[in-house]
Symmetry: C2
Subunit: 458 residues, 2 copies
């Protein structure tokens, strides 16, 4: 080491999380489980580049996420000729672009999962990252996609989250057509106006009834409608029930709503009924899940104007430290209309992986079983320098039997390698005797056994 070298002491970068090896072991266990679950439903993996052209990211118009643009440190004359690139802020836009670009090479219905990092240049807050993993699943088809997929996606998400062993999972499901039908009976048809009401209802749980009522009344006034309709939105959004009661509660709501009763818009009533039927069929197809795992919750509408039917949120009932929905999504009509002249309806959902992992790590580390600092099963050690070859051969034999094996190459006083095994939580130390036998020591109990290598079991 050059002692005169100037030292630049690095510090963590706010919003860019980084884990220690033992935490990474837990993170890998999560990723492996999620991938396995997604694949058990036959979803295939895709990865897109970390960047898209800015024109692709903004093809639908301005986005409200903070985008990171790439600039070369040393620009040259070519830099300006190239299209500007930016890091993707979600996986939906890249997925839509991917589908459009490779349309002819894909088999539809196209079911994909995607587990990549995304970037948002937002001000970092607790639990909000600037770089984080998302785990997305979507299924899309050309022209139409059966409603059965909406239940399948919900079922996948339940299996996925339930298998993480972080307590009870509750899927909260609704269908936007119900609120849209109601709005239409009031005479509100414009997509832009509908979006206004949806955004307000979406904030109900966060902001509270009183504030939202004020907002709703203001908008009704704008639409030249009776302010008292505002109560009916709150009335609808207050329906939260088990799958078996939802239908009754919704029909009660309809029965007490004068406007619906008097409505002569067949289209509005049809939208409303479609929403109810679709939601009923999704809930019905989830009847195999345990009681309490699924609720109908009419306050769920999701803020994005993108969704057109089923909408999901997910709550971890035993992790109050996680605010909001851990996994959200829904049904949409048109995945990639901005990139290709094809009608591609779909349904999808996204797990905010890093935020979830970060919250559990901070507040419930016991749920991550953080411990071993490596995947090593066995540490091979020999005190005699001349036995280095025997140590390596033994390690190789144990590896061939499917074990993860380290050799401790430094021959030092006896307790050094033992301390190393203890620190890394390696459970077994192997002292080779000859090519086929060794003494195996249990690091925790101290128990020792001379065994054939082939006899050793985890």
């Amino acid at each position: 080491m050059n002692e005169k070298q100037k030292i630049y002491k690095p510090k963590p970068i706010s919003g860019f999380p980084e884990w220690l090896p033992e935490e990474r072991v837990a993170e890998q266990r999560w990723f492996d489980h999620i991938r396995k679950t997604f694949e058990s439903y036959g979803f295939c993996s895709i990865e897109t580049p970390s960047v898209e052209e800015i024109d692709v990211l903004l093809a639908k118009g301005e986005v409200d996420k903070e985008i990171y643009v790439l600039e070369r440190l040393h620009k040259d004359e070519d830099s300006d000729k190239e299209s500007r690139l930016a890091l993707h802020f979600d996986q939906t836009v890249p997925f839509a672009r991917y589908t459009a670009q490779h349309f002819n090479d894909l088999v539809f219905p196209f079911k994909r999962y995607q587990m990549q990092r995304v970037w948002r240049g937002e001000r970092p807050q607790t639990g909000r990252y600037r770089e984080f993993y998302q785990c997305d699943i979507d299924v899309i088809n050309v022209d139409n996609l059966p409603i059965t997929y909406d239940a399948e996606i919900a079922s996948m998400i339940y299996d996925t989250l339930e298998g993480l062993d972080i307590g009870r999972v509750q899927l909260r499901i609704s269908n936007r057509k119900i609120l849209m039908g109601l709005l239409q009976t009031y005479g509100i048809y414009s997509q832009e106006r509908i979006t206004e009401y949806i955004r307000l209802i979406d904030k109900l749980e966060k902001i509270g009834k009183d504030e939202i009522l004020i907002g709703l009344k203001l908008n009704l006034k704008l639409d030249n409608l009776d302010e008292c309709f505002a109560d009916s939105f709150i009335d609808l959004a207050s329906i939260k029930s088990s799958p078996k009661d939802f239908s009754r509660l919704l029909h009660d709501f309809i029965a007490r709503n004068d406007v619906i009763a008097r409505s002569n818009s067949d289209a509005a009533i049809q939208t409303l009924n479609e929403g109810i039927d679709e939601l009923a069929s999704v809930l019905d197809a989830l009847s195999h899940l345990p009681e309490g795992a699924v609720v109908a919750d009419l306050s769920i509408v999701r803020g994005l104007d993108y969704y057109t039917g089923t909408v999901y949120e997910t709550q971890l009932l035993d992790i109050p430290e996680y605010e909001g929905s851990v996994c959200s999504g829904g049904r949409y009509d048109d995945l990639a209309g901005q990139y290709i002249n094809k009608h591609l309806p779909g349904v999808g959902i996204s797990i905010g992986f890093s935020r979830l992992f970060g919250v559990i790590k901070e507040h419930r580390p016991e749920l991550l079983v953080i411990g071993p600092k490596s995947p090593t099963d066995i540490l091979v050690y020999t005190e005699d320098k001349n036995e280095a070859k025997l140590a390596n051969d033994t390690a190789r034999s144990l590896r061939e039997l499917g074990n993860n094996v380290e050799v401790y190459h430094t021959v030092k006083k006896w307790d050094k390698h033992f301390k190393y095994a203890k620190n890394k939580m390696i459970k077994t130390i192997c002292y080779p005797q000859d090519e086929t036998n060794a003494k195996f020591k249990n690091v925790e109990t101290g128990e020792e056994n001379v065994q054939a290598l082939t006899e050793w079991k985890k």
Copy 2:
């Protein structure tokens, strides 16, 4: 779909590769194999953020890689206060920074692998990407690290590449101390001057002997030395042999070199001998590998001034389309001196994953066994809409038995789901009969069998 929507037709971004689902399946198989091999040697995974502070990236001085800097699309007053971030261009700098930052939380010797994307804003050429995966392994220790690790790293790399089934793998190994010892007997001690000679020898294979001789002679003149020494460098670098012949060839070289014979610099001779001994011990510890898998090759010196002992390159003997070394690395004295006042010697190697995958995909697609477009084992289908529940239940039961199962939810004329299975190369279609039995059809042969779900085997 809004027919009036303006369509922005996306196109591939030069240098940012993206694979189709069936190619991704092959890529995942590679990643899984590499990870499994690394873990079988007890190496742990780490991931660092995609970015580092520019000051961290440039802590050792200017780098010759093109760096991508991040800029927020919409800057605000805070933007200037924050440190500038850039995408990492390799995994060595982030690993060094990680080790320094988390020094007190790590157990040494610290063995880590890292499989992430890196970015270089270079002009894209055939097989050169701007975004690509690298797979790196390193082991570092405080103050000293036994030479046995140099062989272990080589052994890991052999196991890793050999398991990819892309033909014969040849590790070409040398030790820089041999060349450095020779330079020192000529009186060249300055690190800067040594680096000049190393860089020239490193280009020998690429540029050819004549050009390199000119360069060497120029440098010898600069150092006020006899130009005829240039031949001795070429003489040394021409030693390429099996592990068993290397020692004899090297001693022959020494015997015919007058300067070494006359040298009265003990330090120079010691460096030379250390290099020979270390190389001999590494080659010896690799004697379990098949003949031809390892060669001593004194032309391997690596261009970076970072390496101090063992150096590796790797050639795929059956893939001439891959130019150069698929996997290179070596021994270094000081991993993180620019970030922490600790002496951290180590040895490591890096696989240029994406470039290798790209070359094989282009020139030897048959080696990737590209086929299935998803992980699905079984497609469940029922013609009767009323049997949707049965289809879902059957799929769930098959999933619980460890299979990857899709339900084909669209009830259409008979051949539609069959075509879907054929297109995706799904091998089996399952037609549920009741809760526990189904007809299984082999898509390739057309063979059908009614079986209990529990009896079905891949």
